[in-house]
């Protein structure tokens, strides 16, 4: 399908990726608002199986439609194939597709990319989370014990992984 002719927008990214997380990560990093075509290898090489259209808002995939008909979660299932994919991003101030095509923010990261860390970052970015807003942030920063616990865990991780990573940790002394 010629999505650009249908929806318009400027092409900002076009690449064949072995791992769709590369494209999803890029969308998150660049806070893409617009839409993307995900064309799996079979569609790319054999013209079979169809492709996916994904709407993004502020880097988060929010709606999906598969060219064979399914929308939403079913479209994610139809699109979840072994890579590679040709992915094209188009900037668009009003990303396409309706509420029937809505997906969970982490659906593509979990099921297309199989990347739990990316899924977590995508969830964090998604709007209306309990972690956003000044009240949530100031409450977090007022909770000395929780913040210290995060720092202590990170220090312990860094030191524990020093040998694994091959770096020399520095003593606090």
């Amino acid at each position: 399908m010629d999505v650009r002719a249908t929806f318009g927008g400027d092409l900002t990214f076009s690449r064949v990726v072995a791992d769709p997380s590369v494209a999803l990560e890029r969308a998150l990093e660049d806070s893409v608002t617009g839409y993307a075509e995900f064309v799996p290898a079979d569609a790319l090489l054999l013209g079979e199986g169809g492709d996916g259209l994904v709407a993004f808002e502020d880097g988060v995939p929010v709606r999906v439609r598969h060219s064979t008909g399914p929308v939403g979660d079913d479209a994610v299932t139809a699109l979840a194939l072994p890579g590679p994919y040709h992915v094209r991003f188009y900037d668009h101030t009003d990303p396409p597709l309706g509420p029937d095509a809505a997906i969970e923010p982490d659906a593509l990261a979990e099921r297309l990319a199989g990347d739990p860390a990316l899924a977590e970052r995508t969830r964090e970015r998604a709007p209306e989370t309990v972690d956003s807003g000044p009240d949530a942030v100031t409450a977090f920063l007022d909770d000395d014990a929780s913040v210290e616990a995060i720092r202590e865990r990170a220090r312990a991780d860094a030191e524990a992984r020093a040998a694994e990573l091959g770096f020399d940790p520095v003593s606090d002394d």
Partner: protein, 257 residues
Amino acid sequence: MVEAFAVASGKGGTGKTTSTLALGLALAETYDVTVVDADTGMANLLFHAGLDDADVTLHDLLLGTRDVAVADACYERFGLTVVPCGTDLAGFRDADPTRLRDVIAELAADTDVLLLDSPAALDSAASVLPIVLADRVVLVTQPTVPALSDALKVQEYAASYGTGVAGVLFNKVRPADGIERITPKAERYFEGPIVGAVPDDDAARAARRAGQPLLAYAPDSPAAAAYYDAAAAIDVDGGDGEALADRFRSAVIPEEV
């Protein structure tokens, strides 16, 4: 003199690359600045700096398969020396990140300020290496709980490897974020000062699309003004270039990554 800063965030989407180039351009008004895309797995500095078609990149230096010198991967753009990284998967897969140490050592001998655009993760030796190699980190974060948590984690990793915190920069700040309430509370936990709060600004996205650094594309934008202030608040503590180069050469880094 030379001081190496890793610009790091611990998570994607904070505008780290935009910030690296913006701080680079602002610091370049006083210092000789070199910006390196050390985010070798998710390189995008080249798109921000209009270097999409760069022939020689950091990947070539880390691969070691082409007969190219470090100078061949250095591009003079916007008053900076820019060392972009390639984006092809083979380049990332086959690159030897440990060679970054030698590249940094060579660059350090001939600049005042080195800015390393660092990976938005702490999950591999390659992603931690820029933080290990730098003198100090500049933490780019947002006024949200997850972003602050990740910035704190990077700070602790940095401290574990003897790398200090030069400053903390809030980015993509919206009026509703209540940054004036958050800043004094956040400052208590960081080992360096909060050097600024850059407003969420469409100019940053437009600059990215135009393939130009924000400070070149929209120097009068509110975000650009905030970056100039932030750069001025970073106290560059230059050491001896040769000493730094020696330290890089002797840094303990893994044989296998």
